[in-house]
């Protein structure tokens, strides 16, 4: 087994809710509530789930753009919560992020050259000449040309900007890239381009990805393993093929059933989920999914299901598969 690059253990992030004139704390939103997983070198871990399930928050916690409430995140064996501000900045060379909205993630007043050069300046890598060479090298790697470096973001299309965003993330030679819905703001035809580019880069540069998305098709295309999140919890984590061919958790099953099949004559048993996703400020007791689960048992209301490994490379948090009781 390969060495885990990232080890997330029982990660929790609670946002306090303030209300009233005095701004008293009146509750918490459990955006991430006990998520554990590992990411191995060179693999792509996909994280999927509905809006508001905490997948982006998880990404931001790993980047330490937010501080977590409880649990631990280890990167290369180092607890990131124990790093000082300075050590964290050094650590950021190794983990970079690609953002969802390519229209918002590039500073409109900086030229592309400046945007790409900045990570190098911040981390003190190379002199002016070497930096310039590196900028044009990476522009070429993502399929743009040298002369683009004097242009401003508004002169590019969405797909081009996203490639610039990827190039920026690559400038410091990171080991891990957290891609937070990197293609959901793009046209389908452009999505494929960007995904192919990301896969090519992974092969060439030996990158590790955490790929956050809500589109199951996109995640299947790129991931080795996929984690499914629901209401701040990881409900299923499996090798891609297993998850897509043999989903175990009722929520995963429902998600996969909602993926359109490109065959007009195809019909299937419809397992539509009923009801809305419950509020994270007042999550249901026991298994968070029990309010919408077609297989609900008494146990589900009372007891929080733990992650159990059903077979190698496939774990699920659901009482249906718990054979101990």
């Amino acid at each position: 087994m390969k060495r885990p690059l990232i080890k997330v253990d029982n990660l929790q992030k609670h946002f306090p809710v303030h209300s009233g004139m005095l701004g008293r704390k009146t509750g918490v939103i459990k955006a991430v509530d006990g998520v554990s997983f590992e990411v191995y070198e060179g693999e792509t871990l996909g994280i999927v789930g509905e809006s508001g399930c905490g997948k982006s928050t998880t990404g931001r916690l790993i980047m330490r753009l937010l501080d977590y409430t409880d649990g631990s995140i280890e990167i290369n064996g180092q607890q990131i919560s124990k790093l000082s501000k300075q050590e964290m900045r050094v650590m950021r060379r190794d983990i970079q992020m690609v953002f969802q909205d390519p229209y918002a993630s590039l500073n409109p007043r900086h030229t592309i050259g400046k945007i790409l050069e900045e990570p190098l300046i911040v981390h003190g890598l190379g002199n002016a000449k070497e930096r310039k060479v590196k900028v044009s090298e990476f522009l070429n790697i993502v399929g743009l040309s040298d002369y683009h470096s004097s242009r401003y973001p508004h002169q590019f299309s969405g797909g081009q900007r996203q490639r610039i965003g990827i190039a920026r993330a690559l400038m410091t030679n990171p080991k891990l890239i957290i891609a937070d819905e990197p293609v959901s703001a793009l046209d389908v035809s452009i999505q494929a381009q960007v995904l192919n580019l990301m896969q090519k880069l992974q092969k060439d540069l030996g990158l590790t990805y955490i790929f956050i998305a809500h589109d199951l098709g996109v995640v299947r295309h790129i991931s080795n393993r996929v984690g499914v999140m629901y209401l701040g919890k990881m409900v299923e984590l499996a090798v891609s093929e297993l998850l897509y061919e043999e989903p175990l958790h009722p929520y995963t099953q429902a998600l996969l059933a909602s993926v359109p099949v490109p065959d007009p004559n195809f019909s299937r048993e419809i397992t539509l989920l009923e009801g809305d996703i419950p509020s994270a400020s007042d999550p249901p007791s026991g298994c968070a999914f029990h309010t919408r689960c077609p297989f609900k048992m008494d146990r589900c209301v009372q007891q929080v299901p733990q992650m159990i490994t059903v077979k190698p490379g496939h774990s699920v948090a659901c009482h249906l598969y718990d054979r101990t009781q």
């Binding site: 753009l65 953002f99 500073n107 683009h148 965003g165």
Partner: protein, 295 residues
């Protein structure tokens, strides 16, 4: 796939583009704003080259020629001490523009700094700075200026300081609100993710993006500052005699308003024109650089 997305190396000569260049291009199309800019340019050159253009000094008195109407010799007539009004109006441009520019630059720098601190760091820093602004804004501005000058003592320099102080909260609030919205932008998150220091984020990313409203507001504030300087001068709290400050000239001309209206008309007209110039130019800049600020 990679062939398909590589754009051809050869490029036709393209129009240069950038946020500033685009704004300038649209400013040039705005005729009224250009008129304003020309007025401003005219007064700025008066301020610079005034001493070369003025036929007489600021305090060359010819009591025999006092209160003469406009003539070939004295284009704008003479005042109660027989001084050439034309010369004094020209030389007064320097005082008014200097007060306008310096006070606005000072308040823009101080206001931006406080606004950035309040907007970026938030919490108690924001509370203290914002309440300070509220207190300053609670006074009618000219009253506050009078109070400040009364404490410091009447002089042109103190009038300038007073005008700078009363304009600080306008800039501060503007910048604070800009910073509040900019700091939530994804490119700021991206900058943090890259590992940038707060200082670099503030000065290299937030400030340049908050800049346009400062420039627009600054141009308009110069107009107000000039009026405020004239008002203080009029009240005897700004420029002291014999400095040819336009507001002071208006005050001196009060007693001769009926018999010698030229002593009042020309300084008054100058104030009006220079303020109009800055306002037109400021509106044009706003439309060009910051269309969202309209209305």
């Amino acid at each position: 796939m990679s062939e398909a997305i590589v754009t051809p190396k050869k490029q036709v000569k393209e129009r240069k583009s950038g946020p500033w260049r685009d704004g300038w291009r649209s400013f040039k199309k705005n005729k009224i704003a250009l008129i304003g800019a020309m007025l401003v340019l005219f007064f700025v050159s008066l301020a610079i080259f005034g001493p070369l253009l003025a036929p007489q000094g600021i305090n060359e008195q010819m009591l025999a020629n006092k209160l003469q109407p406009p003539s070939a010799e004295h284009w704008f007539g003479t005042d109660d001490l027989g001084r050439d009004v034309y010369s004094r109006v020209i030389l007064g441009a320097r005082i008014s523009l200097l007060v306008g520019f310096l006070s606005v630059i000072a308040s823009a720098i101080v206001g931006s700094f406080l606004g950035i601190m309040a907007g970026y760091y938030g919490r108690w820093i924001d509370t203290i700075i914002s309440r300070l602004f509220d207190i300053l804004l609670a006074f009618p501005s000219i009253l506050l200026a009078i109070a400040i000058v009364a404490v410091l003592g009447p002089s042109l320099q103190n009038a300038l300081i007073a005008i700078a102080i009363i304009n600080v909260p306008n800039f501060g609030r503007l910048i604070r609100s800009r910073v509040l919205s900019i700091k939530e932008e994804e490119y700021i998150t991206a900058a943090k993710a890259i590992g940038m220091s707060d200082r670099r984020i503030l000065f290299s990313h937030i400030l340049p993006n908050a800049m346009t409203p400062i420039i627009v507001q600054g141009t308009l504030a110069i107009a107000t500052a000039i009026i405020e300087a004239a008002a203080l001068g009029f009240l005897g709290l700004g420029a002291q005699p014999p400095q040819p400050e336009w507001g002071k000239m208006l005050a001196d001309a009060r007693s001769y308003f009926i018999t010698a209206p030229w002593t009042m008309i020309f300084p008054g007209l100058s104030i009006m024109l220079v303020v109009l110039g800055f306002n037109l130019m400021g509106d044009g800049l706003r439309d060009a650089f910051d269309p969202k600020m309209k209305n």
